[in-house]
């Protein structure tokens, strides 16, 4: 059996596409770059929408990219239950496309922000198998990352999605002071109700390379690999550290 194939969609203005491909490769999968204008997923087993500034983030981040031809196929793929991960701009695109609930508004500081943060994993998904309760050190870099659930409050997510990642301190406490962008409930990432579509603002692909000394993003890709190889550990209630 070969390595599972994972598509990385390249929109005009995608920036972290090769970065995501590299992380997938280092994690034992075969990245396949998918061009935005093609209505074809090339038979991949999972799809990653990478970070960047698709279409310059003009109008709103993700507003234009979500109409790309490839997105029709991504939507079908997601509805069929296959794993789809949106990182940063990819998360924004998934929200704009209605594949994830809620929206990402401008950071409350009104500035772009790039720093390493701690995020706590809240739930098991194909991308977070066995990680519940883990606290990961991941970079963020965005200016529109303030997550707003569809009805404003976190409760409004019930039935349409779930919280998967929260900004926290190094001990896993989701305190307001460590909220970098004003997201409701410190939410850093969510999943669809079915759990197969996941979006997050932090960048696991920029923390997936031992040579660069940042590796906390690796478990997210390993989880995907295990899931695709049918080895995903059953959701077990891991203890918060």
């Amino acid at each position: 059996m070969g390595r599972p194939k994972v598509g990385v969609v390249v929109f005009p203005g995608s920036l972290d596409d090769r970065d995501a491909a590299r992380a997938l490769h280092l994690s034992g999968m075969e990245p396949v770059l998918l061009w935005h204008a093609e209505r074809d997923l090339a038979g991949v087993d999972a799809v990653v929408l990478p970070g960047g500034f698709s279409y310059g983030d003009y109008l709103r981040a993700g507003a234009i990219a979500r109409f790309a031809p490839v997105m029709e196929k991504v939507a079908e793929f997601a509805q069929a239950g296959h794993p789809v991960l949106g990182i940063c701009n990819g998360f924004q695109i998934l929200c704009e496309a209605g594949l994830l609930p809620g929206a990402l508004a401008r950071n409350s500081s009104l500035r772009f922000i790039c720093r390493e943060v701690w995020v706590r994993v809240e739930e098991e998904t194909p991308f977070t198998a066995g990680l519940k309760g883990r606290v990961l050190r991941l970079p963020i870099k965005h200016s529109q990352g303030r997550y707003l659930p569809p009805g404003g409050s976190e409760e409004s997510l019930a039935g349409v999605g779930k919280v998967i990642f929260r900004y926290a301190d190094s001990l896993g406490e989701a305190r307001p002071e460590v909220n970098p962008n004003g997201s409701v409930g410190n939410i850093a990432g969510v999943a669809s109700a079915a759990g197969n579509v996941v979006g997050l603002m932090p960048h696991p692909e920029h923390a997936a390379d031992p040579e660069l000394g940042r590796t906390d993003g690796l478990p997210i890709f390993s989880s995907l690999l295990a899931h695709l190889e049918g080895k995903a550990p059953l959701a077990e209630a891991a203890l918060p550290r």
Partner: protein
């Protein structure tokens, strides 16, 4: 016929608007007092052809709903107008 369409997009009522808040907080120091409820959104102007104002407005509205605004966090108004809108200019 050629129409000029204006679309105003604003953060929904009840949604925190940090830009509006920043403007509101900066104004007093610049000598503008008593300004409240500032909201900052987008203004989009475009030209399109159509047979009637009704028809053009309907199309523009669809465009605004589907694309120019995000219904989760924004609301919009569509109107026809002069090339750069009526009112005082600077």
């Amino acid at each position: 016929m050629r129409y000029v369409v204006h679309v105003d997009v604003l953060p929904k009522e009840g949604i925190l608007d940090p830009q509006g808040k920043a403007v509101e907080e900066a104004l007093p120091a610049l000598g503008f007092s008593g300004v409240e409820k500032v909201r900052v959104g987008k203004h989009i102007v475009l030209e399109m052809d159509g047979n009637s104002a009704e028809e053009v407005l309907a199309r523009a509205e669809e465009m605004a709903r589907k694309f120019l605004s995000n219904p989760v966090i924004e609301e919009f108004r569509v109107r026809l107008g002069g090339a750069a809108g009526e009112g005082r200019s600077g």
